[in-house]
Symmetry: C2
Subunit: 270 residues, 2 copies
């Protein structure tokens, strides 16, 4: 039998709409069945502190609720209207979790056994950032780094776009770009900066065999591109070729092409 | 000297928020400098019927306004508040165009000289649809088809996500999937259906050399995937391999990987 949430619990959720509180308390909100299912399935149920399900959506989310109860998570049957007010979306899905965030340390995560890391150098759009975390997970990256210059990983839009991948692999946040570059070098990774105006064609990189090396891919800002000093520090500044008339690719699409090119080079090519 | 828009012009814009009116009048709205710059640059200025610029943003958009005036387009200096009300976005950029849409005919567009076509079989999300149009343009596709089962190309969110690529290459709308499949066969294209659960690995397709053939790529719905009959009709149902723990890729990211794999096979591999 599920009980309604106390006012104190609801208050704890409301506070997490503020980034400063999220960082102080090391908690964040995950919304919708996809992210929460992944949190439970990924053996990350210890990271789910509370689960709120809308009264009207209980039947639809029954399996997730049962799994959460079995994992010992506090599940709160919440008036649908109350949960909608806590939602970040215009079409709430009736499921919200308060989660603990894992504080991954850059120096502990980066190591010489790594083959691929995706670094968001100064990505500002939460949808792009979350999608790149998801794509890096799919492409088999060992870790993702969001530099201090990038959007907050725990922004609700970003969490949603990861569709749970932030529970699948280490995602380091908060290190300045220059520190990430140093850590990547120490770990023996080749540093590739993705830039639409880069001098090196991604297909040439593939043909050369160099993409098979352990690689840290750096992705820049949607509007302003990569910081100039990062371009100087990189081993190569690589462009996805534009064969047609488009001026550029969407950042998340370009990242998908780059990360999958590396995955192919490392896993398939002779 | 720019004049303010008449009430009749403003009314003509407001009406275009409705799909039925867009289709009846064969007009749509394009918003923001990126799309409008592309419309003018792509030699598509004859498709721009009216340009509305916010009084407060005239200096910022001066170059576009000058280009539009030079191309003989009616430019209207519009009260900022009025233009904001016409905008589809929460952060209007002060630039809106009423455009004519080109009615591309499927049978005229599909032809045996084509090498790559992207087909949105039943894509519902306007952001994904527009991003795939942009990516197909970048990857050098000859055309894009949005089947009748897909979202409206001229939805404002979709137009914005194309960042102007809908002015760069033929985009056919309104044909049922089965008709598109037939037309692709007649044009001699291999029919590849992208599906996360497909039996064929994209890397195997690349290794086999088959991806170098002229290809129509079909992309399905974000939630429900491809229609089952399309899976049966395809020459191969291809998955982008998932090397990590993500359950799936974002549709637009998967499309980017598929289209660029074809571009590489056709342009680079021996």
């Amino acid at each position: 039998v599920l009980a309604p949430p106390s006012n104190a619990r609801l208050k704890a959720v409301r506070r997490l709409s503020r980034r400063t509180i999220r960082e102080r308390d090391r908690e964040f909100l995950a919304e919708g069945p996809q992210v929460i299912r992944e949190a439970l399935a990924a053996g990350a149920s210890s990271r789910v502190l509370d689960l709120f399900v809308a009264e009207s959506e209980l039947d639809r989310h029954r399996q997730i609720v049962d799994d959460a109860v079995a994992a010992g998570i506090d599940v709160h049957l919440t008036p649908t209207r109350v949960l909608a007010q806590l939602s970040d979306t215009t079409t709430p899905q009736g499921l919200l979790a308060r989660c603990r965030f894992e504080k991954w340390r850059l120096d502990a995560v980066m190591n010489p056994a790594m083959r691929m890391v995706a670094v968001l150098a100064n990505v500002r759009d939460p949808g792009n950032a979350g999608t790149i975390v998801r794509t890096a997970d799919a492409a088999g990256a060992d870790a993702v780094v969001l530099s201090a210059e990038s959007v907050d990983l725990y922004n609700p839009k970003c969490v949603r776009a990861t569709t749970g991948s932030l529970f699948h692999l280490p995602v380091v946040v908060g290190s300045p770009i220059a520190v990430v570059v140093d850590a990547a070098r120490v770990a023996g990774l080749r540093i590739l900066a993705a830039d639409g105006a880069g001098p090196v064609d991604l297909d040439d990189e593939l043909d050369s065999g160099r993409l098979a090396s352990p690689t840290a891919w750096f992705f820049g800002n949607e509007a302003s591109g990569l910081p100039a000093d990062l371009r100087d520090l990189a081993d190569a500044v690589v462009r996805v070729p534009i064969h047609g008339r488009a001026e550029s690719l969407n950042l998340a699409a370009a990242a998908a092409v780059c990360l999958y090119a590396s995955a192919r080079a490392q896993r398939r090519l002779p």
